[in-house]
């Protein structure tokens, strides 16, 4: 009951944002879809005529379809930047295959005797196409367009990763912030949108094409396209553009704090962590919300701005383990704590750099490091039981997982299975509490703000103090979730605002206060 109410509360509170995201979502879907139709239908017709081409063209479209969306978006940033343009291109590419394939199938499946009769009666090629082939292929073609639409509504949520807006902002923000209402506020409209568009198209599928002039179809088409552009988020050229992750946007120790504590007024777009650093490097963004130990900091020559008013709480990494696991295998705690104190910020940045930029495998980086620190012991291949280690979906966590794996295998008789890439905080945490994994590395700040959600008084009391925060989360996790925070590893992977080094230097910006001042100058 409580849940339902607060969901509606959330929706009514955020209704402006919800509408603008929904419109942007529709805009992205429709433009890409219409572009795909304009391109794929003629090509589909062409390959139905020249069968030799069909294999290669359908093959290319098929390969495009299999490229992971985020990868595709990332590849396009250098050319198209961030925002609606690359998102539309990616969605367009995904929509190509179903439309292409169904146009091709629809046309080739038209009874050749009918086409022959049409020719024999003296219809010219255009008449045969528009009066015979297309009308007969229309239901199949429409089925392809419907498939593409549903795919596009789904993939368009990822547009939020590259500052193109859409309902993904709520969905990914909600996942990152462990806020179910926010997830649902994005997911439900997206699902409804898919159902609605599919339904409307199913009506269109039934119309009798022979009685309709082609012009009548083109007209609403152009209308929808034009109005779709209107729905997209517009980027006004401000002094500087900031790209923040959906998570950062919604956090008190993120954008909200920047606004309230520093009074920072900067134009923002929502963007994924995966493409953010590169976008900054490519001058598409000026300020980003990064992590202080991220390897890309080094790779893209970015600098962090000093948090002179302490809004970013400490994010010391430490494994959190279920108490029942520690009870069952008492030797585990000491073994995991061996890593404590051995990695500071710059060491972690360097390790991350090796994985993210030099493309070394996390296994290798972890092993090299452990050898170096004399923490490596060969595996004992024990069979006492299996420890399942989870991780969130980024390099630093992969490295830590591998280090723990080495420690457990070398120092205990336990076996290890790893479940890496468990999305965001919420997914990892739920996996832990639901006994899907036994422990994973978490950050004190995340545990404090995202998982415990303390009131503002508690937050102000602790005021970013490393030991106090650790103490607070240790106690609260033990009581609330029956989980134990082991000793912090050492480094502090906290949020930080980052800029390109040369820009920061030329503007003499070193701290967030400097940035605020610069932006407030006229």
């Amino acid at each position: 009951m409580d849940e339902t109410q607060s969901f509606w509360q959330f929706v009514s509170q955020q209704s402006d944002k919800l509408w603008s995201q929904t419109w942007a979502h529709i805009g992205l879907t429709m433009i890409s879809l219409i572009l795909a139709i304009i391109i794929a239908v003629p090509i589909g017709i062409l390959i139905a005529r020249k069968q030799k081409l069909s294999g290669i063209i359908l093959g290319i479209a098929g390969v495009l379809q299999t490229i992971p969306s985020i990868a595709l978006l990332g590849v396009m940033i250098p050319f198209l930047g961030i925002g609606p343009k690359p998102a539309i291109l990616a969605l367009f590419l995904y929509a190509l295959l179903p439309i292409l394939r169904n146009t091709y199938t629809g046309i080739t499946e038209v009874n050749p005797a009918v086409v022959d009769a049409a020719k024999g009666m003296g219809m010219n090629k255009w008449q045969i196409l528009t009066k015979v082939e297309l009308p007969l292929a229309f239901p199949v073609l429409m089925a392809g367009i419907r498939t593409a639409t549903v795919i596009n509504v789904g993939v368009a949520t990822l547009a939020a990763y590259i500052a193109a807006g859409g309902l993904g902002e709520f969905i990914f923000g909600g996942i990152a912030l462990n806020n179910s209402n926010m997830i649902l506020a994005g997911a439900i409209p997206a699902a409804l949108l898919a159902i609605l568009l599919d339904f409307l198209l199913s009506l269109l599928q039934k119309i009798n094409l022979k009685s309709i002039r082609v012009a009548w179809l083109i007209l609403p088409f152009t209308f929808i396209t034009m109005s779709s552009f209107y729905l997209l988020p517009t980027q006004i050229g401000g002094k500087m553009l900031a790209g923040f992750t959906p998570e950062f946007m919604g956090r008190q120790d993120g954008y909200l704090g920047l606004k309230s504590v520093y009074g920072l007024g900067i134009e923002t777009v929502v963007i994924s962590d995966a493409v953010m650093y590169k976008a900054a490097f490519e001058h598409k963004l000026d300020v980003i919300s990064g992590y202080s130990t991220d390897g890309r900091l080094k790779a893209y020559d970015l600098v962090t701005l000093r948090d002179d008013r302490h809004i970013f709480p400490p994010y010391y990494a430490a494994p959190i383990v279920r108490n029942d696991v520690l009870k069952k295998y008492p030797e585990l705690e000491g073994v995991l704590n061996q890593l404590s104190g051995s990695i500071n910020d710059s060491v972690m940045t360097d390790l991350n750099f090796k994985v993210d930029q030099l493309k070394q495998s996390p296994e290798k980086v972890a092993k090299d490091f452990m050898m170096d620190k004399n923490l490596y012991k060969p595996a004992r291949n024990g069979t006492k039981g299996t420890i399942r280690i989870g991780s969130k979906i980024f390099g630093e966590q992969y490295i830590l997982v591998q280090m723990y794996k080495i420690l457990i295998l070398g120092n205990t008789d336990l076996a290890v299975s790893t479940k890496t890439g468990l999305g965001g905080t919420k997914i990892c945490f739920d996996a832990l509490t639901n006994n899907q994994i036994d422990f994973y590395p978490e950050y004190t700040g995340t545990g404090f703000l995202v998982l415990l959600k303390p009131d503002i008084i508690t937050i102000n009391q602790l005021n970013g103090n490393r030991d106090q925060v650790y103490h607070y989360v240790s106690q609260a996790f033990d009581q609330k979730f029956n989980l134990k925070w082991l000793k912090p590893i050492g480094f502090n992977n906290s949020y930080a605002l980052m800029m390109r080094r040369e820009q920061a230097q030329s503007l003499s910006i070193e701290s967030i206060t400097d940035l605020t001042k610069h932006l407030n100058q006229k």
């Binding site: 009874n111 005797a113 009918v114 022959d116 009769a117 049409a118 020719k119 024999g120 009666m121 003296g122 219809m123 010219n124 008449q127 015979v132 009308p135 007969l136 009798n208 094409l209 022979k210």
Partner: protein, 298 residues
């Protein structure tokens, strides 16, 4: 009316049609007859340029068909296919209006002409708003024919028009078609592999094998003066029946006026067995026929 000269058509390495020439006079019915794959369809489709010959030429009323735009040429030539080729997404009325619409006829003229043909082809007017799938095979074939006759083209090309029908329907429809005044005046080239059909419908028959013409002539010429062994072998199995069909009553019994074949008369006699009023009996007819055969073979 139609003149084909030295037509050659090759598909890849196989020769579908080699060196075919023939002439069809106005109002004449020419049948292209032969076993499957002998090149009948290929020959027929060269006439409305659905297939372009590798060499050779075709003249329609003395004009080389290559001088005309194919679409324009085809609108003036009726074309009936084995599987009727009706548009499944058009109603019957819309189907038969296709060519008239291409020729920009007005709706009223189209409607009148459609009614006229429906009447002649004994098609129920209620079928007009139905889609082809709702029609029986025989009805579909009639609609297909109606469609090709709508603009009253002087030339009609038919590719196994009765091929998809069962035997009985086929024989009945064939009979009706022969009686149809719309068809009587037309120059028709029709493809079939059914010998009986060829002998019933054809003024002249062009018997083909392996892309070549074996003999071209009237049914009687093929029967009584075969050009080679292939022709006589081809006809042998059904020779007697074919002879009845191709010989006219007045050839065996000069005193009779009726314009019928011996076969038609036999059928008529057998049907009215009991009527005494007939001027000839079955026995007399048979006797006269065997005398006629002896004369011709001797």
């Amino acid at each position: 009316m139609i003149k084909a000269e030295n037509l050659v058509k090759q598909f890849g390495s196989s020769r579908a049609v080699s060196n075919i020439s023939f002439q069809v006079k106005e109002g004449e019915n020419l049948i292209l007859l032969g076993t499957s794959g002998c090149g009948k369809t290929t020959t027929l489709r060269m006439i409305n340029r659905l297939i372009e010959p590798d060499s050779g030429s075709i003249f329609l009323n003395g004009v080389d068909i290559r001088t005309q735009q194919p679409e324009i040429l085809r609108r003036g030539i009726g074309y009936v296919l084995q599987n009727h080729g009706l548009f499944p997404h058009y109603t019957v009325a819309e189907n038969i209006a296709i060519v008239p619409r291409l020729l920009k006829w007005d709706t009223e003229t189209i409607r009148k002409r459609a009614d006229e043909l429906f009447d002649k082809l004994k098609l129920d007017a209620a079928l007009k708003d139905k889609y082809p799938t709702a029609l029986s095979g025989g009805q579909q074939q009639r609609v297909g024919l109606a469609r090709s006759l709508m603009v009253n083209p002087p030339v009609l090309l038919m590719d196994e028009p009765f091929g998809a029908l069962d035997n009985l329907t086929r024989i009945n429809i064939r009979k009706e078609f022969r009686m149809l005044d719309e068809l009587v005046k037309k120059t028709i080239i029709m493809v079939t592999h059914d010998v009986q059909e060829a002998f019933e419908m054809g003024d002249r028959i062009c018997l083909m094998d392996k892309g070549e013409i074996q003999q071209i002539g009237t049914p009687e010429e093929l029967l009584f003066h075969p050009a080679n062994d292939f022709v006589s072998d081809f006809l042998n199995e059904q020779r007697l029946q074919l002879e009845f069909k191709s010989v006219l009553l007045k050839e065996v019994l000069p005193e009779v006026e009726e314009d019928l074949s011996v076969w038609d008369k036999m059928e008529a006699l057998l049907q009215n067995k009991n009527s005494q009023s007939d001027e000839v009996t079955l026995d007399q007819l048979m006797g006269a026929f065997s005398r006629f055969k002896k004369q011709n073979n001797g």
